[in-house]
Point group: C2
Chain length 196, copies 2
Amino acid sequence: MAKIKSGQNVTKKDTIVATAAALFREKGYAASSMRDLADKVGVEAASLYNHIKSKSEILQDICFTVANRFINHLEKVESSNVSAIEKIETILRFHIHQMIHNYEEVYVSDREWKHLEDPYLSNFQTTRRTYRKRLASIIEEGIKSKEIKNIDAPTAVLIMLHAVAGIESWHRSTQKIDADELEKNMVLIMVEGLKK
Amino acid sequence: MAKIKSGQNVTKKDTIVATAAALFREKGYAASSMRDLADKVGVEAASLYNHIKSKSEILQDICFTVANRFINHLEKVESSNVSAIEKIETILRFHIHQMIHNYEEVYVSDREWKHLEDPYLSNFQTTRRTYRKRLASIIEEGIKSKEIKNIDAPTAVLIMLHAVAGIESWHRSTQKIDADELEKNMVLIMVEGLKK
């Protein structure tokens, strides 16, 4: 019985975090209250605290879950035996998928992390910086092997990551092309834009 | 004397709006209070109201000033007698310059407009949508004239605008390339990415 109960708690926490991601995306973290969250979950505000300690803890949960997922993927790509431009394409497609299918939490992790508190804030900033440097290294690799044109690698990373963040507009758009078309077009413009 | 006073008032309002743009960019509109703003301007909170009616009015001022500047530029480009890809390049360079040199207000207009209140909110959304459609039309024009590859024009607009918004990361970065290099690289990747 205790085990089932703990299982239920985990599920409830997941629901709270997922609902919070949607709320933070919509209203922004700073403007979202625990009362707003309770309303959206459909419980009393007080009962949220059976599952989570604070609004801040929810943001940490969202940001670090997303960050870990991207880092794990990057590690697999780095150790794969393909060309630099293929690595970049794989990473780009992964970012696009994440932004399409895990939109709320990826958006919040990308836009609202500034509201993290230390030590989480510093840790997250370092993680972001390191992630971008590792992407830039792959681009540098591609420049050396003449697959990629001679560009500033950090600028290329910046363009790539922010263009993907633009899928936000796609989500909001009333006349969307389908997700596969979106992916195809983004790859067509950006990977081709990088190629020598 | 009255005239000079009114001149001083205008200047004070400009200072308030510029300071507010920096504050909203840093903390977000929702989390910024009039007291924060007064502290940053270096006056008593009450005296802000001699110059502006409300926090909301400041946001309107920022958003519509920026929007008008972009629309005026777009109109000039649309009526210019150059190829579609050159129009796109001119617009892209304008966006980059604005994001570099009028960073705070452009950032706030791009990220915090959701906090506008109606009728301004609806008006601003329509303006944004129309602006993007007009950019997409230029890209369609370039696709027809075979200057631009056969892509989904709204997706290309989305990539372009969001990549430029990425200059936010450039501003925050401690090891920046210089502004001209940034512009050169962005044009190289994106305009080349569009070209057939």
